[in-house]
Amino acid sequence: MSADLDSLRLPTAAARAREASTGIARSTASRWLLLVAALVVLATIAVGSLFIGSGTISAAEVWRALSQGGDDTNAILVTGFRLPRMLLAIGVGAALGLAGAMMQAVTRNPLADPGILGVNAGAYIAVVLAVAIAGTADLSSYVWWSFAGAGLASVIVYVIGSRGRAGATPVRLVLAGVALSAALQGVTFAITIRNPDIFDKIRFWQAGSLQNRQMDVFLGVLPFLIVGVVLALVVSRSLNAVALGDDLATSLGTKVLRTRVLSVVAITLLCGSATAAAGPIAFLGLMSPYLARAIVGPDQRWVLPFTMVFAPIIFLLSDLVGRVAVPGEMPVGIVTAFVGAPLLIVLIRRSKAQGL
């Protein structure tokens, strides 16, 4: 089931030595330059997103609301809705991108993504249980349930997917994620179908959306996002060693288990808070690290920061497309699925594994 899939893995030992300097940007200077350029692009799109919405507010009005505030309708729409939405898009985007990059590094699996590996489904069912059983009503208190679900699901999927001598091959992990999502889906459905109220609340959250999120949602998840990001950047160096394979990493003096545990904690914090705030969003964690690796190669110390800038760019653009493309808004999670799934197909088709 697995031997033929090795070419789908992230580069290990020998391959990595060869590929150490792959990617479009190879020198440190050009990488810094590109990172700064990407940040400028992100800032531009972020500011632009304040001016574009499903309703029309003139640019002058937006500017006035931002600079002077006020409590007329337009000012409230801009500072009360568009601004937190933009901040949330950046936070959630960065979180999911980072989580995806870390999952890919820890599992040495380029197909890893919080949505594909069932972590979102775990967070989802936890939130459904919170609404159905505990009667939790506001988004900011979803977050603890979401953590519990995300953490539990990521551990379960990893344990199932990495059993056996062959270890955690990409396809085994993907299947474990799909299997867990399926098992949880039936239970979630059984809970929601009995209660139309919950069903109605959940169906909007479920599609993955940034609509109608106000500042309290952003501020509610912000501390967790910050801890998650710091943790991710701290372990990024050890992730490089883990990518070499467990044996080599251990002989290089890396504490593999500690790196794994810290990574799972970071992934849980990032996915859990992102999912609580925006609902399950698939494929963002797949796309962004892929793009980052194409530019800077496999060095995690570069992949993580680049991912952290690319993911919010993709996410903001997806949200803008969802806002503008159809009347009445298309949730951003649907847009990312439309963009990301084709990439998964391209990745699978391009893999050289003949047995695949």
Partner: protein
């Protein structure tokens, strides 16, 4: 019926079609039929009105009271018959897919067929607006188109199992996102109805659904019997099969169409029901200890699985009833997890 080839095996011949029967297979199929009959009888007695067994027997001889006759023959029997015939179709479909992909996960559920059928039905019910027949056609077109797209995307000098599966997962993700979107735009009642159908449900089905489904299965099964020898040879691998004179890609495509048609028959009536096609052939193979996928035990296992799942769906949170698909998707997930764990243990 002629020729004993070796102990425990026997060749059965009907006209031009012949097949080898193992004694173990006979025992397994017999046991599954017993399960179907037993659970079927239980399903007929249970419900809002309990009907004792002697009254049930009376209903079948036509001597029961009018109300009992109506409850048993008009309300409950069609549902049991649909579960059995649908289960047979799904079991056979899964057996075909798993033979073609030579992979225990190659099933219509995994390659996105169900998501596509649901998309088709949703577009018809929520966007276009149409009657039952239109919904059914929408489901069929959606499912077939999805299967075709997945097959073409997986094509690269032939279609290989794993690529087919992962591409199926990717396409399912896109379709599921689109389905979510359609449901979001619908009003709450339409969305709940669509979600129930989307899970796969045997509720509210009657004889008018049994008849077309039975006709379709009755046409498809003999065609499959004619192709079964080729199916067996494909399992040896492309090289051996083509050395034996089988036009590999054409045979595979024909079989794929048969498999899709069998699943589509069920989906059209009951919505997308996952897991049965996935698990029935594997469970049947384990019980019969057969080397390859076997059609008849897979069909019997499919019937037993769907019928039992439907009874569970009706009883588990009684008096409320779940769509049968909510039960099968959970069982399917657990089964997949078990499959991944046991496969790891073997290596």
């Amino acid at each position: 019926m002629t020729a004993v080839a070796e102990p425990g095996r026997r060749t059965v011949r009907v006209g031009r079609v012949s097949w080898v029967v193992h004694r173990r297979e006979l025992v397994v199929v017999g046991a599954l039929v017993a399960v179907v009959v037993g659970v079927g009888a239980f399903a007929l007695t249970q419900g809002e009105y309990r009907i004792p067994l002697d009254k049930l027997l009376a209903a079948f001889t036509g001597t029961g009271s009018e109300s009992v006759l109506r409850i048993v023959l008009e309300w409950r029997l069609p549902r049991v018959v649909i579960a059995v015939i649908g289960g047979i179709a799904l079991g056979l479909s899964g057996a075909i897919f798993q033979s073609i992909t030579r992979n225990p996960l190659g099933s219509p559920d995994i390659i996105g067929f169900n998501s596509g059928a649901f998309t088709g039905a949703l577009i018809v019910t929520l966007v276009v607006g149409g009657n039952y027949a239109a919904t059914v056609s929408g489901a069929l077109i959606g499912g077939l188109a999805t299967a075709l797209v997945v097959y073409l995307l997986a094509w690269s000098r032939g279609v290989q199992g794993f690529r087919l599966i992962v591409i199926g997962i990717a396409i399912s993700a896109v379709l599921n996102a689109f389905n979510d979107y359609l449901q979001l735009r619908a009003d709450l009642n339409a969305a709940i109805a669509a979600a129930s159908w989307g899970m796969g449900s045997l509720a509210d089905l009657g004889w008018q659904d049994v008849v077309p489904m039975t006709i379709a299965v009755a046409v498809l099964v003999p065609l499959l019997a004619l192709m079964s020898r080729r199916l067996g040879m494909l399992e040896f691998g492309d090289d051996i099969a083509s050395a034996l004179g089988i036009p590999v890609e054409r045979a595979r495509l024909l079989l794929l169409v048969l498999g899709v048609a069998l699943t589509a028959t069920v989906t059209a009536v009951a919505g997308p029901i996952i897991f049965v096609a996935l698990a029935a052939p594997q469970l049947a193979r384990r019980l019969t200890k057969s080397a390859g996928i076997t059609l008849v035990p897979s069909a019997a296992m499919g019937a037993a699985l769907l019928l039992v799942s439907d009874v569970v769906a009706q009883r588990i949170i009684a008096p409320a009833a779940l769509p049968v698909g909510a039960v099968t998707v959970t069982l399917g997930g657990i089964y997949l997890i078990a499959l991944l764990i046991t496969q790891a243990g073997k290596r």
